[in-house]
C-alpha cells in the first residue's frame, strides 16, 4: 500500500530501554494520504491507521523464519486494543534511527522489545483516547477502548480509530516511558496463536525473498572466490568471459574480510545468473594464498592434542579452588570431548541486490544485522551510511549466517561498477558452503570432583579453540557464565588459542550448541560415577531455588529445577533406562530440559521421541509459532549430532561441495513425535529462536550411551 508517502517530521521522541541503548521513535509523523479519498493517519513510526479502520503495523526486525514479523506487531496490537483481524503487517526498511535495533540474532527480539513495542501501542492508544476526549469534551479517564474503537460508556458514544486518527495524529506524542500499559492478566492477543503473516503468499509462490527481487533491467552476478579462505587476487584474465554476449562486466571486490585495498572475490555480471555462473569457467584468476594454504582439519587436531597435553594459555573463569577441591573429592572423573566446524547452509543461498545511482546506494538485503551491513557496505563503497537505503526482504533461513554481511558489501561494490543498473549477486551452493562463517570446532579436556553428597564439587576444563593474540576468534570464546559454572563452587575454565584462516561465526545458539554437548555429556559420566542419573546430579548441584547474578545473564536455579522436574514427569523418567538420555541447558535466557528416546533394530538406531520442557518466562507470546520453533531447534540439534555433519578443511579450503558432503536433516530421520511443554513462570518473557536447541545434543549422546554402553565424546556421533 501507499508506495510514496511524504514524511513530515514534527517531533522526535527518545525513550531508553533496558541495557541503556537509546531507542528513538518518530512519534508523530503526519503522512500524506495513501490515496486522495482514503487517508491513512500515522501515529508513530510503527502505526498507521487506515480509512477502513484497519491498522497497518510496521514489523521492524528481519524475518528469518523465527516468526518475529508477527510477534512484534502482536505486542503493539495488544496495547492498542485491536482485534487481530484489523491488523495489517508491513516489513519496515532498515533504519535504526527510526525503529531502534533491528537485528535478528541471539533470541533478543523478545527481551529487547517486550516493553518498547508495548509502549508504542499504548502511546498510540493514549493519543486516540485523548483525541476522543477532546472531541467529546469528556475526561480521558472516562473512556475505554475495544476492537479499534474508543468508547464513552456513560453516554454510549463510540468512535472508530479511523474516525479519530486525524485528530490523534495532530496531538503531541506521549513520553513512551510514562504511558500506562495493560494489566497482563487482560491480554487478549499475547498468548494466542497467530499464523505467519506471509503463509498465504508462500503457498502461492509469490516473490518474498531476497533472491526473488525483481527490478527493471536487473543484472545478475555470480562469484568466484579463492578456495583457501583469506586468499587475495593477484591478477585475473576476463577476456574470454567478456566475449560472451550478455556478460556486462567482470569486477574484483573485497567481501569485507581481507585487508582494505585487496580483493578476494571476482564477480561476473551478466543479463542472466545462469549465464554469469557458466561464464565463471572462462575467467582465470591468480590467487595469493601463500599465507593461508597450510591450514587443515588434520593440522588443528594434531595441534589441539598437543595443547590439551599442556597447561592452558589463559583463564576464562575461576571460582573457589578447583585443584584443592579435586584433592578432597570422593571421586574424580576426567574425559576429552571434541566437535567439528559446521556450516549454516541456509536454504536460500547468500544474495543481495543493489543499485547505485547519483551517489546513492539502494539495497534489497536478506540480512540479519542490516545496521552493521550498512556501515560495512558504506565503508567498502566509499560512501557515508546515510547514502544507503536498505530494504529488508524475507529471508530463506538465517541461523546466524546472515549476521555477517559479505553479500551486501560485495553487491554494493558491484553496483558501483555498473552505475544506474540494478544487480543481484547470488552465491551458488558450493560458494555458500565453502565461504561461510563457520561454527568453530573445539577440543576440551575436562575433570570433575564429586563431593560426598553426590554433588558436583569441582570442575576443570581446558578448552582448545581458535584465536590470536590471546583473544578468541569470532564465536570461539568460552563464556564465563557457561553452564554449569555458575552453580559449581570450585571452577577453573582454562583456554588456549590456535590460529586459523577460516572466518568463524555464530550458529544458532552459538557456543551453547557445542558446550551443552560437552558439559552435559560429561556430567552424565560424572553422574554415573556418583551412582546417580543426570537429572538427580543436576538437582543436587543446583541446590535451593535462588537467583545467581551473572556477568551476562542471571541464572535461576528454581527455574532450572522446574524444567528438569517437568520433563522427567511428562516423559516418565525412572532413573537410568536403556535407550533414554537426558540433557539440560540454559542459554539465551531460556531454561530447557529434554529427553531423547532411542531404539535399535537390526543395528540401526532410530530416534523415536523427544520430550521438551522449557521456561521462557511469563508468556509464550505466540504458541503456534513457539511449537514450530521448538520442533525446529530439536531437529536441527539432532542433525548436528546424528547425520555426519562436519566441515572438513584441506590446504586452507573447505572441501564440501554440496548437501551430499554436508548433509541436512531429512524427514525420514525425524522422530515421530516431539512433545513440547512450556512452564509460564513470573519472569519477563524471553526468546525462543535458540534455547531449545542445545540440550538435545547431550540428551541424544546420553541416550546412545545408555543404549550401547559405549560413550561417544566427539561430534558427529555414530548411530550404531
Amino acid at each position: 500500500m501507499s508506495a510514496s508517502i511524504a514524511i513530515n517530521r514534527r517531533s522526535f521522541l527518545a525513550a531508553s530501554v533496558a541495557g541503556g541503548t537509546a531507542l528513538a521513535f518518530d512519534a508523530s509523523l503526519v503522512l500524506a494520504a495513501a490515496t486522495a479519498d482514503a487517508p491513512a493517519q500515522v501515529l508513530n513510526a510503527f502505526v498507521r491507521i487506515n480509512a477502513e479502520n484497519t491498522v497497518t503495523i510496521g514489523a521492524k526486525n528481519p524475518e528469518i523464519g523465527q516468526g518475529v514479523k508477527v510477534m512484534l506487531p502482536m505486542l503493539i496490537a495488544e496495547e492498542m486494543d485491536l482485534a487481530w483481524e484489523q491488523v495489517r503487517i508491513e516489513q519496515t526498511d532498515a533504519d535504526e534511527k527510526r525503529f531502534g535495533v533491528q537485528t535478528a540474532g541471539g533470541s533478543t527480539a523478545t527481551p529487547r522489545n517486550w516493553l518498547p513495542m508495548r509502549q508504542v501501542g499504548a502511546a498510540a492508544r493514549q493519543m486516540l483516547i485523548a483525541a476522543a476526549a477532546s472531541t467529546w469534551g469528556v475526561a480521558a479517564e472516562s473512556l475505554s477502548t475495544a476492537r479499534g474503537a474508543v468508547v464513552h460508556k456513560p453516554s454510549g458514544r463510540s468512535a472508530t480509530y479511523a474516525a479519530l486518527a486525524k485528530a490523534a495524529a495532530a496531538l503531541p506524542a506521549p513520553d513512551l516511558a510514562s504511558v500506562k500499559l495493560k494489566d497482563e492478566k487482560t491480554f487478549s492477543i499475547v498468548g494466542t496463536s497467530k499464523p505467519g503473516v506471509d503463509v498465504a503468499k508462500i503457498v502461492k509462490g509469490e516473490p518474498l525473498f531476497g533472491i526473488d527481487t525483481r527490478l527493471p533491467g536487473l543484472l545478475h552476478g555470480a562469484i568466484i572466490k579463492c578456495p583457501a579462505h583469506g586468499g587475495t587476487v593477484i591478477s585475473f584474465d576476463d577476456s574470454a568471459a567478456k566475449a560472451i554476449a550478455g556478460v556486462a562486466a567482470v569486477v574484483a571486490v573485497n567481501s569485507g574480510f581481507v585487508p582494505e585495498g585487496k580483493n578476494d572475490t571476482i564477480v561476473i555480471v551478466a543479463d542472466s545468473w545462469w549465464k554469469a555462473s557458466k561464464a565463471r569457467e572462462k575467467v582465470s584468476v591468480k590467487w595469493d594464498d601463500s599465507a593461508v594454504s597450510g591450514f587443515s582439519t588434520e593440522g588443528y587436531e594434531a595441534q589441539a592434542a598437543k595443547i590439551l597435553a599442556g597447561a592452558p594459555q589463559t583463564s576464562a573463569f575461576t571460582a573457589g579452588d578447583a585443584d584443592a577441591a579435586m584433592m578432597k573429592a570422593a571421586k574424580v572423573v576426567s574425559a576429552e570431548y571434541a566437535y567439528p566446524f559446521l556450516a549454516h547452509a541456509s536454504l536460500e543461498p547468500q544474495n543481495c541486490t543493489a543499485r547505485f545511482e547519483a551517489g546513492k546506494l539502494e539495497l534489497w538485503a536478506p540480512s540479519q544485522a542490516p545496521a552493521n551491513g550498512r556501515a560495512e557496505t558504506a565503508r567498502f563503497c566509499g560512501l557515508t551510511p546515510d547514502d544507503l537505503t536498505i530494504h529488508l526482504t524475507r529471508i530463506g533461513g538465517g541461523f546466524g549466517r546472515r549476521l555477517l554481511n559479505d553479500y551486501m558489501v560485495i553487491a554494493g561494490q558491484v553496483a558501483k561498477a555498473v552505475p544506474g543498473k540494478p544487480v543481484k549477486v547470488l552465491f551458488d551452493r558450493t560458494d555458500d558452503l565453502r565461504h561461510d562463517f563457520y561454527r568453530p570446532a573445539g577440543w576440551h579436556k575436562l575433570a570433575a570432583g564429586i563431593g560426598p553428597d553426590g554433588s558436583l564439587l569441582a570442575l576443570k576444563n581446558h578448552f582448545a579453540t581458535f584465536g590470536s593474540d590471546g583473544k578468541p576468534a569470532r564465536a570461539a570464546q568460552m563464556n564465563p557464565a557457561e553452564f554449569p559454572a555458575p552453580v559449581v563452587p570450585n571452577v577453573d575454565l582454562g583456554v588456549s588459542y590456535m590460529a586459523t584462516n577460516l572466518a568463524t561465526g555464530w550458529l544458532r545458539a552459538p557456543s551453547s550448541n557445542a558446550m551443552a554437548f560437552v558439559f552435559q555429556s560429561f556430567l552424565d559420566e560424572v553422574a554415573l560415577a556418583a551412582g546417580l542419573d543426570l537429572p538427580e546430579l543436576m538437582r543436587r548441584t543446583l541446590g535451593d531455588a535462588r537467583e545467581i547474578p551473572g556477568e551476562r545473564a542471571k541464572f535461576h536455579t528454581g527455574r532450572a529445577r522446574g524444567v528438569i522436574d517437568a520433563v522427567c514427569a511428562t516423559a516418565g523418567w525412572k532413573g537410568r533406562q536403556k535407550g533414554r538420555g537426558f540433557g539440560f541447558y540454559f542459554s539465551h535466557l531460556g531454561y530447557f530440559a529434554e529427553i531423547v528416546d532411542l531404539s535399535q533394530k537390526n543395528g540401526a538406531v532410530t530416534v523415536d521421541k523427544v520430550w521438551v520442557a522449557g521456561d521462557i518466562g511469563a508468556h509464550v507470546i505466540n504458541p503456534l509459532n513457539a511449537l514450530n520453533q521448538a520442533h525446529g531447534c530439536v531437529i536441527e540439534g539432532l542433525g548436528q549430532a546424528m547425520i555426519g555433519q562436519k566441515m572438513v578443511q584441506d590446504a586452507g579450503a573447505m572441501t564440501a561441495e554440496n548437501f551430499g558432503d554436508f548433509p541436512l536433516m531429512r524427514i525420514d530421520a525425524v522422530p515421530r513425535g516431539i512433545a513440547v511443554e512450556f512452564l509460564e513462570t513470573p519472569f519477563p518473557p524471553t526468546g525462543l529462536g535458540e534455547p531449545a536447541l542445545p540440550p538435545v545434543l547431550p540428551a541424544l549422546a546420553n541416550a546412545l550411551y545408555s543404549l550401547t554402553g559405549k560413550r561417544q565424546r566427539s561430534l558427529p556421533l555414530t548411530l550404531t
Partner: protein, 167 residues
C-alpha cells in the same frame, strides 16, 4: 534455441540455450520466481515442479527436455483439486518457518497424493525425503499431507502444552 512448452496451462515460447535448466528459465525468462534455487544438484528439492504430471527437480531438467511438455509450478498448483487441498492444509497448520523450501515441499506432496491418495507414515517419509527443510518443519509437513489426504495427524503439531507455574 526456441522452446515451446505449457506452463500452468498457458502456452509459452522461450528462447534459451538448450542446457539452461528449467529452474532458471522459470525464474529468469518467464518471471516466475516461486520455484526456488537451493542446491543446483537435485539434492534439496526446493526447485520441484511437475513435468507432464511427474515431480521433477527443475534445476536438473534442461529446458530442451521440457519442449512440448506441460509444466506445473507452485504458482499454478492450486488450480487442481489435490494441489489446492495441499496448499490449504499448509496454511491451516501454519507449516512454514522461513518458507523458502515450501514451494518444493508442496509440489512433492501434491505429486505424492496424486499417485497415493492415502499414504502411510512411511510412504510420506519415503516420498518426501528428497525435500530438505532447513528450518525442520517436518512434523507439520507430515501432518499437512495427512490432513490434505483426509487422515488425522499422528502427533500434536499446533498446540504446545502450557502450564502456569509459580516461581
Amino acid at each position: 534455441m526456441s522452446v515451446n512448452l505449457t506452463v500452468n496451462g498457458r502456452k509459452r515460447v522461450v528462447d534459451a540455450e538448450g542446457d539452461k535448466p528449467l529452474l532458471w528459465v522459470l525464474r529468469e525468462d518467464l518471471d516466475m520466481p516461486g520455484t526456488k534455487f537451493g542446491c543446483g544438484a537435485g539434492l534439496c528439492g526446493a526447485c520441484t515442479v511437475h513435468l507432464d504430471g511427474e515431480a521433477v527437480r527443475s534445476c536438473q531438467t534442461p529446458i530442451a527436455d521440457a519442449a512440448g511438455k506441460s509444466v506445473t509450478t507452485i504458482e499454478g498448483v492450486a488450480a487442481n483439486d489435490i494441489g489446492r487441498r495441499v496448499a490449504e492444509a499448509w496454511k491451516a497448520l501454519d507449516v512454514p518457518q522461513c518458507g523458502y523450501c515450501q514451494a518444493g515441499q508442496i509440489m512433492s506432496a501434491t505429486a505424492l497424493l496424486r499417485q497415493n491418495p492415502k499414504p502411510t507414515a512411511d510412504d510420506i517419509d519415503g516420498w518426501m525425503s528428497g525435500n530438505i527443510c532447513r528450518c525442520a518443519t517436518y512434523l507439520r509437513i507430515r501432518a499437512a499431507i495427512r490432513t490434505a489426504a483426509g487422515l488425522a495427524p499422528e502427533t500434536e503439531v499446533t498446540k504446545p502444552a502450557i502450564v502456569e507455574k509459580s516461581a
